[in-house]
Amino acid sequence: MTSLTHLQRLEAESIQIMREVVAETENPVMLYSVGKDSAVMLHLARKAFAPSPPPFPLLHVDTRWKFRAMYDFRDNMAEEIGMDLLVHINPEGIEKDINPFTHGSAIHTDVMKTEGLKQALDKYGFDAAFGGARRDEEKSRAKERIFSFRTAQHRWDPKNQRPELWKLYNTRKNGKESIRVFPISNWTELDIWQYIYLQNIPIVPLYYAAERPVVERDGALIMVDDERMPLEPGEVPMMRKVRFRTLGCYPLTGAVESEADTLPAIIQEMLLTKTSERQGRVIDSDSAASMEKKKQEGYF
């Protein structure tokens, strides 16, 4: 009798899901956010299709406001794996210079992320897109399907989602519908970190604590990642030992003070910590049901 560990079981499930998508859809793509969940998803994809490279491209919907360390990491990663990396930035966003400071986080996210994603999917005609969302991220995700159907307009209709039994996924679409597939739905934040640790998966250095220049905005520590970050008159960024629990647009992502500069220390901190992962995301505080709304609008 061989006992599989929980990580082996989760890995096998994710791989099964990815192969199902590749076998049954015409033009899949992997949404690559450069974060730790994306890192795990990409690693699983390499395992699923080895020795072939994963038979789909990576798509990064860029907002122009990610951390510089994320861009460096992204470009190195794509080159190393030998996968096509498609980067899409909403041209309308560039034209109108949409940014989190003058337009606020809600509009910035809507135009650059939500609209940008729809544009990119339409432009390349992708009919299935892998995303790294997990059910443990928050309450409203707990009942999200692994295969989530979107209308031709990329809207999510909560009333029209399909039951998922056994390991059977119905991948058939009507016309211009598309599917968002979440192969790591059943992983928790701890599973992700433990897997990164065991499999030695490279992640963006921003997850590790280091001294970084930060300013305070509404109680959140925001990193001054480049000269576009507007400082108050007389303001001097402090160098504080911080790390990030989630990564996004740097002006919208709060850092936490931390001494954790190794993976075990990060896991230790996570287990002993007192606030949940999403707290660092400024976008959540916009409105209570914002996540649900974002999903309906096609944010994921």
Partner: protein, 261 residues
């Protein structure tokens, strides 16, 4: 067991133990039995943990502080904090323990030794040890290289101890108040400090630096400051000021040099 006989250290140890037991699913009654604490004490420790995490579990120090003749009452502590948040005495880069002792004596008629003040600093988390910079001179590490390339060329040209300064800014975790501390170490490890309720702004840094220049002005000698914890060159105001100084050298400590901890 009468817990009144327990030293604060022992009591806190047991409170932590009780919380761990509770986290492991042990009932209050059983945790009380195993730690010798009363059930209400176990509950209180558990509640503190739930509200404030591990750091909230230990009880606050009771009674007088170690090595201190006078009881540092709430009112005195309050005055000390108010002083630290306010401007330091004229010409000073911050408050030294001597300055604070004088302030208490002159303004409030309270007698407290410099050592007493320094002990209070320690209990409030405000104490900061200077870095043994000269010990870096021979180190074969990244730190050693930095010292030789960035610090030594300045420090070696300065003869007097009061020309060589080090300091920084940091956030001090304090249970009751927001504390951003600007600290400076001068000759013989003496410490000056100011506290802020928000991160210091350019003016705050410049006031302190101006005071350092002032201290050596009579001898008309240059001053060097090795500084950690602020990205000063991001401030146009600071940059402009520095470019006009011929007698002030700022040596920023690069990120992750490992001096701070």
């Amino acid at each position: 067991m009468n817990i009144k006989h327990l030293s604060p250290e022992k009591l806190n140890e047991r409170r932590m133990q009780a919380v761990k037991l509770r986290l492991d699913g042990v009932t209050v009654a059983l945790a009380s039995q195993q730690t010798g604490l009363s059930a209400p004490t176990v509950s209180a420790a558990w509640k503190s943990f739930r509200e404030g995490g591990w750091s909230a579990v230990p009880v606050r120090p009771r009674g007088r502080l170690k090595g201190q003749a006078n009881v540092l009452d709430t009112a005195t502590q309050q005055r000390l904090w108010e002083a630290l948040y306010a401007h330091p005495p004229a010409e000073q880069p911050g408050w030294s323990s001597a300055d604070l002792a004088a302030f208490l004596r002159n303004e409030h008629g309270v007698e407290l030794t410099q050592r007493g003040i320094e002990h209070w600093w320690e209990s409030e988390g405000l104490k900061h040890e200077p870095w043994p910079l000269s010990a870096l001179a021979k180190q074969r590490s990244q730190r050693g290289r930095w010292y030789r390339q960035a610090v030594a060329p300045r420090f070696d040209r300065l003869e007097e101890a009061n020309q060589r300064w080090q300091g920084g800014v940091r956030r001090v975790v304090h249970p009751q108040r927001p504390v951003y501390q600007l600290y400076l170490h001068g000759p013989r490890g003496r410490m000056w400090m100011r506290c802020f309720k928000r991160p210091p702004v350019a003016d705050d840094y410049l006031t302190a630096m101006q005071a350092l220049i002032g201290k050596s002005e009579e001898s008309n000698r240059p001053v060097a400051l090795v500084f950690h914890g602020a990205w000063l060159s991001a401030s146009p105001q600071v940059t402009a000021w520095l470019s006009q100084q011929t007698m002030f050298w700022l040596v920023p400590v690069p990120a992750d040099m490992g001096l701070a901890s």
